[in-house]
């Protein structure tokens, strides 16, 4: 056989992916050649989906498997034509059914399902694999089509492997992956030249018809099949036992297969394109574009109705629309598709399951679609698809798209055939299938009584072998048990509890290696090791930090994303005992100290209580879980956070903290001691997938788009979405799509706006469109203290949407309104006229927002007024102080001190120090004394007299001089005419004065010095707390002072 050279290259890649699968049973093999020829790739794939449990291996199930093998073989043989794998393996009595998987493969798969059991099974399989490899080596030299053979084997292996994976979990994603892989693999396989040529011809000739329907394709297909048959007959003729009926049914499906071939074909074509052709194409496409622009509206708009289909009948089907449909607007169809669970894709890709074609379709799309082997439907076929779905709902809902449907119909066919024929093989096949189906159905109908289905199934089963029926009964039993459990549970638990993740893998949005769950597991498992290791503190920017340094982890994230769930599951899985404290416990300093210490030193006997008497029953591994640390608030929990930090520093067990907002001020001190794990909201589609499966289990129908809306409305909060769903679920009559949509809109979670968002809304013209005047004034009431300030600070940052010449006028109007608002505010606060508040809302927020409505350019600033105000207060205080101290020597008021005296006074003191260095000290001290100023008054004086933009003159004073001056001041300090503490502002002033009074009483003879003494004590206290920037000098000075005092007293 002439082979395309490419096939050789491809083979080199494949070995990594796939290995051999071996047909199971002897009896089946004779049948295989036939089946091979007729069956399709697609079917084979579908079968795989059904055949979940080959690994569990009950003998009776094997036959079924073998069938799938046959299918696979068929598929592959059909594609490759010259390959006769069955020659090699099929005849030989091979007993094993275990899938054989290569090691490399294992690893990649492990990434997807990190599952211990799975791993184990893979390891077992590997051993087998080695054996098989040897076999392969023996066989291969024997045949001509070596390459093809190995392909073939690999393919089979791959499929097997997939099956085995399936067994472990039927995780949809993994399935998809697999399918993708097979797809690509198939494409590779399709390079056989003869086929390609053939298809090319057929392609050219029938391109246009080909588009129309699948039926037409059959011709071409049948040709191909003939050829294939020929090949096969040559090789397998002896073994062929034909089953004509199956042939016929298989032919229908042949179309899909053929299309895949075309795909390979097309790519070949393209590579051959000459420049001329390309040019032609360009011209063509230009013409097409013109046509597109002129194309007409639907001709018979409204002449048909979209039939009512089973809900979700198009689930997981992706559609591509092209061309003008006959009787529908594009939007209608898209809506219909979405309503039934499908998606509409903008471009042709492998993910598209159907192409829906109208008049004047885009030829490029069609061509690509045919390349990719996507079935092409016209409008009527599409409608049929929906209306037919009513009949097959059960099967279709569970399975995926068209392929699944095919299986369904196929299995039906088989059933019928079975009735007619009584061949034992057939029975076996069905037998193996039906139990699985029953299981599925049981699952499906958990919430609804499923008697009918079950009965039907039982009937069909009765006609089958005993063993099979036994099996099915057992599975039925399991199903019933499940139902019972379900019933008893459902009344007791809320959905949130009922569908709580049972293991780490079920947590939504926490898969992947860099997920928080993984990180937490890592951190927790290595915790004890890391304690000995003494790791350096990682830089805060280190990306892949595993948190080894930290003794505590802080999980932060919005509510309802699974923080607490994660922690409890991780602890359970790693065998830690979680000691949990949450906001409903009092967590103040002393309680934390006492209780937690005790709790952590004890051991848990819970294992014994549960009947586990092994050694592990008593665990000594504790984890301290502090849930809702941001809820440690108020008087009750005073000092709790600080104590928690101390606890973390000294802890001997891992500590896990949880909070919502790690940026809040409360958390600021804690975050430094914690390994930071941030939970983000899961994506909408992640939540939706989980919710859909729950809806399914509960037997309620919610359209995907409504669900999306609901999820978005709840702010991607899994828990609330569940709560809302359970609310909806009770009343099925209410659950119509439109109503739910409306509902979903109104269920928006109310999140309190921060002043930043509020002020952005105040000025946003976009938001104003949908807001009533009440809504606008509500923006003011989010925080009526801050809102006016924010508006005033930011109104100039707005770019009003208006003609340019009006901009200034509008700003002036806004300013005017703000000023009136300020007047109102003064009245509100001055005379407690709170009834004016709504009016202030108008002036301070609504009116300015209205006149300059536009959009905010740049960042929204925090009101500068607050800072300025507090600074002003401080200045007043300082001026007051100096005014009081200098009262004997000055005659001005406070403001004249501020305006007239301060700068000159400062210069008089500072300049000698700058100019004359140490010699000027006495001079400046003289001035200080003559004005009765204290040393620290000098600092306030400098601060007071310094205007924005001026340079601080004290920087010119050398540090030496400064120090010397302070020393001399301390030595020479003399009596002041006032008690310095009196005017100073300090929290403990009263207490201090009391103490001082006592002291004064004791040392009556030294009144003056006592007064001084007071001053010094005061100085120490106030300064330490207030001005930490001067702390360098202070300690020495105060010591000096106190020393001096002591001397004096002596």
């Amino acid at each position: 056989m002439s082979k395309d050279i490419r096939s050789f290259f491809i083979t080199t890649k494949k070995p990594v992916k796939s290995k051999e699968a071996v047909p199971d049973d002897d009896d089946i093999i004779p049948e295989s050649p036939d089946v091979q020829i007729k069956k399709k790739k697609k079917e084979a794939r579908k079968k795989r989906v059904i055949l979940d449990d080959s690994d569990d291996e009950i003998q009776t199930k094997k036959p079924k498997k073998s069938e799938t093998h046959l299918n696979k073989k068929n598929k592959s043989t059909a594609e490759l034509k010259e390959v006769k794998p069955i020659d090699l393996f099929g005849n030989a009595p091979i007993v094993r059914t275990e899938p054989i998987v290569k090691k490399e493969k294992n690893k990649t798969e492990l990434g997807i399902h990190s599952d211990d059991e799975f791993e184990k099974s893979l390891l077992e399989i590997d051993e087998i694999d080695h054996l098989e490899k040897n076999k392969n080596i023996d066989f291969t030299p024997l045949e001509n089509g070596n390459n093809d053979k190995s392909h073939e084997r690999k393919l089979q292996k791959e499929m097997k492997q997939k099956e085995s994976i399936k067994l472990d979990k039927d995780l949809l994603p993994s399935l998809k992956d697999k399918e993708k892989k097979t797809d690509s693999y198939n494409v590779n396989n399709l390079k056989n030249k003869s086929i390609i040529d053939e298809v090319k011809e057929g392609n050219k000739r029938k391109f246009s018809e080909f588009i129309e329907t699948n039926i037409k394709d059959e011709n071409a297909v049948s040709k191909k099949i003939k050829i294939e048959k020929k090949h096969k007959d040559e090789s397998f003729s002896s073994k062929v036992e034909s089953d004509l009926e199956m042939n016929c049914s298989a032919i229908d499906d042949e179309a899909g297969k053929k299309i895949t071939k075309n795909r390979g074909n097309k790519s070949l074509n393209e590579s051959v394109l000459s420049d001329e052709e390309r040019h032609q194409r360009r011209v063509q496409s230009a013409a097409l574009y013109k046509k597109y622009l002129n194309r007409s509206a639907p001709k018979h708009l409204g002449s048909k109705e979209i039939p009512v289909g089973a809900p979700d009948c198009l689930k997981d089907c992706a559609f591509l629309l092209t061309g003008v449909l006959d009787s529908f607007e594009r939007e209608e169809i898209e809506e219909a598709i979405k309503r039934y669970g499908g998606t509409v894709k903008p471009g042709v890709s492998r993910k598209v399951n159907y192409v829906l074609v109208g008049e004047d379709p885009g030829p490029a799309k069609i061509a690509k679609a045919t390349d990719l082997g996507i079935p092409i439907l016209n409008e009527d076929e599409f409608l049929k698809l929906i209306s037919n779905s009513v009949n097959n709902t059960k099967l279709t809902t569970r399975d995926k798209g068209l392929k699944e449907k095919n299986i369904a119909s196929k299995s039906k066919d088989e059933k019928e055939r079975k009735c007619e024929k009584s061949s034992s093989k057939e029975r076996k096949k069905d037998k193996s299938k039906s139990p699985i189906k029953i299981k599925e159905e049981n699952r499906n109908s958990t919430s609804k009584p499923s008697d009918d289905n079950v009965q039907n199934q039982v009937k069909t089963l009765n006609s089958e072998k005993q063993s099979s029926s036994r099996e099915s009964v057992s599975s039925l039993g399991i199903g019933l048990k499940c139902e019972q459990n379900h019933d008893t549970k459902c009344n007791k638990y809320m959905w949130v509890d009922k569908y709580k993740p049972q293991n780490v893998k079920q947590i939504i949005g926490q898969h992947g290696d860099s997920s928080n769950v993984k990180k937490l597991i890592n951190w927790l498992t290595k915790w004890y090791v890391n304690r000995k290791a003494k790791l350096p503190k990682p830089s805060p920017w280190a990306k892949n930090d595993d948190g080894g340094y930290f003794k505590a982890a802080l999980l932060s994230g919005p509510p309802g994303v699974g923080k607490t769930t994660t922690v409890s599951l991780v602890c359970r899985e790693l065998g830690f005992d979680a000691v949990e404290f949450n906001a409903s416990d009092t967590r103040n300093k002393s309680l934390l100290k006492e209780q937690i210490g005790e709790l952590l030193s004890t051991t848990s006997l819970s294992g014994y209580a549960k009947g586990d008497t092994s050694k592990q029953a008593v665990s000594k591994k504790h984890v301290l879980v502090m849930d809702e640390v941001d809820g440690m608030a108020g008087n009750e929990d005073r000092g709790g956070l600080q104590e928690l930090i101390n606890l973390i520093k000294s802890t001997s067990v891992p500590v896990i903290c949880m909070c919502n907002d790690r940026n809040s001020t409360k958390m600021r001190s804690l975050v430094n001691y914690c390994y930071d794990l941030r939970f983000n909201r899961p994506r909408v589609d992640q939540i939706r997938a989980a919710m859909m499966s729950i809806c399914f289990k509960e037997g309620i129908k919610v359209a995907p788009d409504v669900l999306t809306q609901l999820i978005v409305a709840s702010n991607q909060d899994v828990r609330q979405t569940l709560n809302l769903l359970s609310m909806w679920a009770v009343d099925e009559a209410l659950a119509s799509a439109d109503k739910l949509k409306r509902d979903a809109n109104t269920t928006k979670k109310d999140v309190k706006l921060g002043p930043w968002e509020a002020v952005r809304k105040v000025f946003s013209a976009e938001e104003h469109k949908t807001m009533s005047i009440h809504d606008k004034s509500d923006l003011f009431f989010y925080d009526y203290n801050l809102a006016p300030l924010f508006v005033q600070e930011n109104y100039l940052q707005v770019a009003p949407h208006c003609p340019k010449h009006e901009v200034l006028e509008r700003f002036s109007k806004a300013a005017d309104s703000i000023s009136i608002g300020d007047m109102v505010s003064a009245r509100i606060r001055g005379s407690q006229a709170w009834s004016l508040l709504p009016i202030q809302a108008m002036y301070s927020s609504v009116l300015p927002g209205h006149v300059v409505s536009g959009h905010v350019v740049g960042q929204i600033q925090f009101p500068g007024w607050l800072g300025k105000n507090s600074r002003a207060n401080k200045m007043h205080r300082l001026a007051q102080e100096i005014h009081a101290h200098t009262r004997l020597s000055t005659s001005g008021s406070k403001s004249s001190i501020y305006l007239d005296y301060s700068s000159h006074l400062r210069d008089a003191i500072v300049n000698p120090l700058i100019n004359e260095k140490t010699d000027g000290i006495t001079k400046s001290l003289e001035i200080l004394e003559s004005y009765h100023l204290l040393r620290e008054d000098l600092d306030s004086l400098i601060e007071l007299s310094l205007w924005p933009g001026q340079r601080n003159p004290t920087v010119l004073i050398e540090a030496k001089v400064k120090a010397a001056m302070t020393r001399t001041y301390n030595k020479t300090a003399s009596a002041l005419p006032y008690a310095p503490g009196a005017v100073k502002k300090g929290r403990n002033r009263n207490d201090d004065e009391m103490d001082d009074g006592d002291e004064a009483g004791d040392v009556t003879e030294e009144e003056n010095s006592d007064a001084e003494n007071d001053a010094f004590i005061k100085k120490k206290k106030t300064k330490d707390s207030e001005k930490s920037d001067l702390s360098k000098e202070k300690p020495s000075t105060s010591k000096a002072k106190t020393n001096k005092e002591k001397k004096k007293k002596k």
Binding site: G560, G631, N660, Q720, K752, H774
Partner: protein, 348 residues
Amino acid sequence: MDDDDIVIMEVDEPEKKQVKPSSSKSTNLPWIEKYRPQTFDDIVGNEDTVSRLAVFAKTGNAPNIIIAGPPGVGKTTTILCLARALLGVSFKDAVLELNASNDRGIDVVRNKIKMFAQQKVTLPPGRHKIVILDEADSMTDGAQQALRRTMELYSSTTRFALAANNSEKIIEPIQSRCAVLRYSRLSDAQILAKVIEICNKENLSYTEEGVSAVVFTAQGDLRSALNNLQSTAQGFGHISPDNVFKVCDEPHPMVVRQMLEACTKQDIHEAYKVIAKLCKIGYAAEDIVSNIFRVCKTLDISEELKLAFIREIGLTHMRVADGLSSPLQLAGLLARMCRVAAGGDPEW
């Protein structure tokens, strides 16, 4: 002994029920209590939500709920109905109701509510103890925080029902744990129907206009409608518009609306007549102005003009609040509003 107790309880219940509607004592009750709905069927408005809750009342296993909505639309009533329907005779034991009049600080949440959640009450399957937190928006953040985990940990035995006026005052984590149900204001027709029904039950003499005046004063608040109705009935024995507005001492919004509409047509004479009348009746200037302000917000005129009006009203309100409550100020307000309506630029 135990058996006896139970028997007695069961006998008690029906008796009470019989007594309630017929007793003459109940005239002492305010009508809002007397006619407070006892079952879901009697609840006015928000049918969707109520019917859903009614299903829960049958099946049990209701999720935690927050009912948010303006006052007087039946939030508390709904929750009480739900609790009663779910728990029946064990209502007393299995319901903890706390409202703003109770101390609901952080320690109460940590002690009282938690203790209640931990209590064992024998209930039929699918029924749970219910903690009703009325006016939950007045709970402090700390108290709400303390509630979080309690809501989850004891969800197998205890469910929470919260009622609040504005749900944004309830912290997000709590909202996340609940299904949030929103009640909207009742429509005038709904209130009207209920008011007429009660008028008939009480054998009141009423006129159509009188009843609709009651509805108007209520502004979607059924409770205030009933209160107004009762006070009118007891004061005058006849429900007519005049009597109603005498009781609900407030300048009639319709009159004010007419006045404002006159202003938009720059008909100051017409407008002044209204003001003069209101002053003559004896309304305080402050009441008049604040009423004008309220009506103006709902006036059906262009946003631009509305805000211009509001600006003038605000200025006047400020002066009135300063003590200048002379009719002159009000007349001035009218004049300025007319000028604004004529397109004359105000002072800005």
